[in-house]
C-alpha cells in the first residue's frame, strides 16, 4: 500500500507523507476514513514508528488528516481537501514556472507548452512536448 523507495533522496517521512496524500487524493482513503495506526504502518513497511509519527504529524499540520486522541488518525473532509490540494499544486506549478523562466523560456513559449498539455496536437506537429 505504501511504497518506500530507498533510492529516493527524499527523507522517509516525506515519502510516507507523499504516499498518504496520493492515497487520499485517489480516494483509496475516503474522507473520515481511519488511517492505519502508526504501529500497523510501521510493521507493514518496516519503518521506525517515530518516523511514521512524524509523517502523520506533518499531515495533520498541513490539514490532510485530523487525529482523535486514543482513537486514531482520520482523513479530512472532501471539499477542504480539494481546496488544499489545489493550493499545493498551484504552489508547485509556480515553482516549476519560475525554474523554466530561469532557464530562459519566454512567456509565449510557456503558454505554448501549457496549451500543448491541455489540448495536445492543436499547436501542430513539430514540437509535441509531452503528448504522444
Amino acid at each position: 500500500m505504501i511504497k518506500i523507495d530507498n533510492n529516493n533522496p527524499k527523507a522517509i517521512y516525506e515519502q510516507i507523507y507523499d504516499e498518504i496524500v496520493r492515497l487520499i487524493m485517489s480516494k483509496v482513503f475516503k474522507p473520515n476514513d481511519k488511517l492505519p495506526s502508526v504501529r500497523e504502518l510501521a510493521s507493514m513497511t518496516k519503518i521506525n514508528p517515530n518516523t511514521i509519527q512524524k509523517a502523520y504529524k506533518y499531515l495533520e499540520d498541513d490539514n490532510y488528516i485530523y487525529s482523535i486522541k486514543g482513537v486514531g488518525n482520520f482523513v479530512k473532509d472532501a471539499e477542504e481537501l480539494r481546496n488544499l490540494h489545489m493550493r499545493n499544486l498551484k504552489e508547485e506549478l509556480y515553482k516549476i514556472i519560475k525554474s523554466l523562466k530561469e532557464l530562459g523560456l519566454t512567456k509565449d513559449e510557456l503558454i505554448k507548452i501549457v496549451n500543448e498539455f491541455i489540448e495536445p496536437g492543436i499547436e501542430g506537429g513539430e514540437s509535441n512536448v509531452g503528448s504522444k
Binding site: 518506500i4 530507498n6 533510492n7 529516493n8 533522496p9 527524499k10 527523507a11 522517509i12 517521512y13 502508526v38 504501529r39 510501521a42 510493521s43 518496516k46 519503518i47 521506525n48 514508528p49 517515530n50 518516523t51
Partner: protein, 297 residues
C-alpha cells in the same frame, strides 16, 4: 534511558573498548553496528555486568548500574550464541525464568509460542539456529524487561520470521516503553527501523546519531559539467569521497547540496545533477572508509 559513559576496557594488553558513549532512550530502538570483532558484544556484556570496566560507568534511568544492582533484574540479554541448560525445553526454561523475572508473563509467552509456531516441548539444544533464536526471543519479550539487549538476533532467521520478529518488537517498544539495543552486522535489516545508530570500529564509537539526521547530513550527488573541471574547487562542500565514471562525478559529501548545485550552475554548463540517497550500509562504509577500513589499495 540507558547511558554508557566513557567506558574503557582492556583484555591483557589489548584495548577492546575505548571511551565508549551510548545514549539509548526509552521507546526507541538503538542499533549498534560495526565491523566484525569491533567490540559490540563486549559492550553488551558490560551493560549486563558480566564484565567489569576499567574506566567509565553505566546508568539506567539515572541510577548507576553496578554488579548486583536491583535494576539488572529488569534487563534482558539475548546472546548471539545461545546455550541452553542440558535437556531443557522452552516450557521448562520458562518456568525457571519466571522465578528470575518478576514481570514474566504467561499470557504473552503462550501467545508468542503460537505466533512464532515454536514447539515448547522440544529440547532446546536440538533446535536449529533460527529456532533457538526464536525461542530466546519469545522468552525475552514475555519477560517484559525495561532494557532489552539483542545480539545479532536476526542472524539466521528467514524472511517470514524476520517480519514477525520486527512486528512483535515494534509493538513492545511502542506500547511497553522498552529501551532496545540491537547489535547487527546486517545493516539492511536495521536501516530505517532504528531511531539511533552507533557506528563502531576497533573498540571505538565513530559516530552516534539519530539515523534520520545522519541521512540528512550525509548525501551523495552525481553531476557532470561541460569542459575542464577541477574537484579542488569544491573543498568547502566537504567532499568525503569521489568516484569518476566517464565524465560523471559521484561525490559523497556533508556540505550543502543546494549551494553546490548553484555554484556549479553559475560557473559551468551543468549537464547533470542528481541527488542520491544513502542507505545505512553506505553511510557505514563511508564512515569506516574515513578511518582507513576497507580501502581497496
Amino acid at each position: 534511558m540507558l547511558e554508557v559513559s566513557n567506558l574503557s576496557k582492556k583484555f591483557g594488553n589489548f584495548q577492546v573498548l575505548e571511551n565508549i558513549n551510548i545514549n539509548a532512550e526509552k521507546n526507541q530502538i538503538y542499533g549498534l553496528v560495526g565491523s566484525n570483532g569491533c567490540g559490540k558484544t563486549t559492550i553488551l556484556k558490560h551493560i549486563m555486568r558480566i564484565y567489569k570496566e576499567d574506566e567509565g560507568y553505566i546508568s539506567f534511568d539515572g541510577e548507576e548500574v553496578l554488579e548486583g544492582s536491583e535494576i539488572i533484574k529488569d534487563f534482558y540479554y539475548v546472546q548471539d550464541i545461545l546455550y541452553f541448560p542440558y535437556q531443557y525445553t522452552l516450557n521448562k526454561l520458562f518456568q525457571y525464568e519466571k522465578l528470575m523475572y518478576e514481570n514474566m508473563s504467561e499470557e504473552k509467552f503462550q501467545y508468542l509460542l503460537k505466533y512464532f509456531n515454536v514447539d515448547g516441548n522440544k529440547v532446546l539444544n536440538k533446535m536449529s539456529k533460527g529456532q533457538k533464536k526464536q525461542a530466546a526471543f519469545v522468552l525475552a519479550i514475555a519477560a517484559q524487561p525495561k532494557l532489552l539487549l539483542l545480539d545479532e538476533i536476526v542472524d539466521g532467521l528467514d524472511g517470514v520470521i524476520k517480519r514477525k520478529f520486527w512486528d512483535v518488537l515494534l509493538k513492545e517498544v511502542m506500547e511497553n516503553s522498552m529501551t532496545v539495543i540491537i547489535s547487527s552486522h546486517d545493516l539492511k535489516e536495521l536501516d530505517n527501523i532504528c531511531d539511533k545508530v552507533g557506528i563502531m570500529h576497533e573498540g571505538k564509537i565513530l559516530k552516534e546519531e539519530n539515523l534520520e539526521k545522519m541521512k540528512e547530513e550525509i548525501k551523495r550527488v552525481q553531476f557532470a559539467v561541460d569542459g575542464e573541471f577541477d574537484l579542488g574547487e569544491l573543498k568547502e562542500y566537504n567532499i568525503l569521497k569521489t568516484t569518476k565514471i566517464g565524465s560523471v562525478y559521484i561525490c559523497t559529501l556533508t556540505g550543502n547540496i543546494e549551494d553546490l548545485r548553484k555554484y556549479l550552475q553559475s560557473n559551468y554548463n551543468l549537464l547533470l545533477f542528481d541527488t542520491l540517497s544513502m542507505s545505512l550500509e553506505e553511510i557505514f562504509i563511508t564512515e569506516l572508509g574515513g578511518v582507513g577500513y576497507g580501502k581497496e589499495e
